[in-house]
Subunit: 125 residues, 2 copies
DNA sequence: AGACATAGACACCTTGAGGTAACCACATGC
DNA sequence: GCATGTGGTTACCTCAAGGTGTCTATGTCT
């Protein structure tokens, strides 16, 4: 697959491709959004789960732990006896809220285009 | 997994989630971008492949055919004897270029944030 | 007593996206 | 004659994302 491409603006590690990786995990962007928009940047596990219809407990914690490793959120554990944990957006995490809002905003404003896509998909099925 | 969620702004079929589906396929957004930005909305198969380092012949045609089914591009075949085919952005396809440019643009302007992410990832490895 | 919530850990499974490689048909160039 | 480029198709394989279900421990509520 060697290509003597004169244009390396499209290498594997270019900025655009790296942005896409943020969205490669199904829930990451939604968690960032919900955390920022609905919970002022900090929320407990249960609250988050209830904010995201369809997410399983496993995927929620798994994604959150990955995000913690990436420095997007901070995990805080309270030694209380019914365990309590909450997650807070870091500064880095807040930066990534911006492109997400950009995208979601576009989606809300262009629902008709999305409808067109969906219509085609169901039609040929 | 039934949740009597009071907030259905986050149902499975809300606009934000549907936008994400555009990016759920690895190459779709890049093809749309390259087609629009580098080739004025129309290009032959081979040209596209050479514009996208790393894509295999199979993934390219497969993605293009899916995009055709979705009404994002138009496929044109020339009956010439070394087969010639080209793909043209449709009006719908052009609409989806916008959010992609939004995202890619953010990525280019915020490469430092992306670097931070990458740094964390390699550090804990 | 027993149900329920809280935040996980762990085992397990399925699905499909994505990738590799080989083959086809044909015309041109060496 | 033989290699090459064109645009595919087809078979095959792999890996990891995502999902389900169960188990833990403990404290309140009824």
């Amino acid at each position: 697959m060697r290509i003597g491409s004169p244009d390396h603006e499209w290498r594997e590690d270019c900025a655009p491709r790296r942005v896409l990786e943020i969205f490669s995990s199904k829930w990451t962007s939604m968690i960032l959004h919900v955390l920022d928009t609905r919970h002022k940047g900090c929320a407990r596990t249960g609250v988050l789960q209830r904010s995201l219809p369809g997410i399983s407990k496993k995927m929620l914690t798994q994604t959150l732990r990955d995000m913690e490793a990436d420095g997007l959120v901070t995990r805080r554990v309270y030694g209380t006896v019914p365990p309590a944990v909450d997650y807070t957006l870091t500064l880095l995490g807040k930066r990534f809220v911006e492109p997400i809002e950009l995208l979601y905003g576009w989606g809300r404003a262009n629902a008709d285009a999305l409808d067109d896509l969906a219509a085609r998909r169901t039609k040929d099925a």
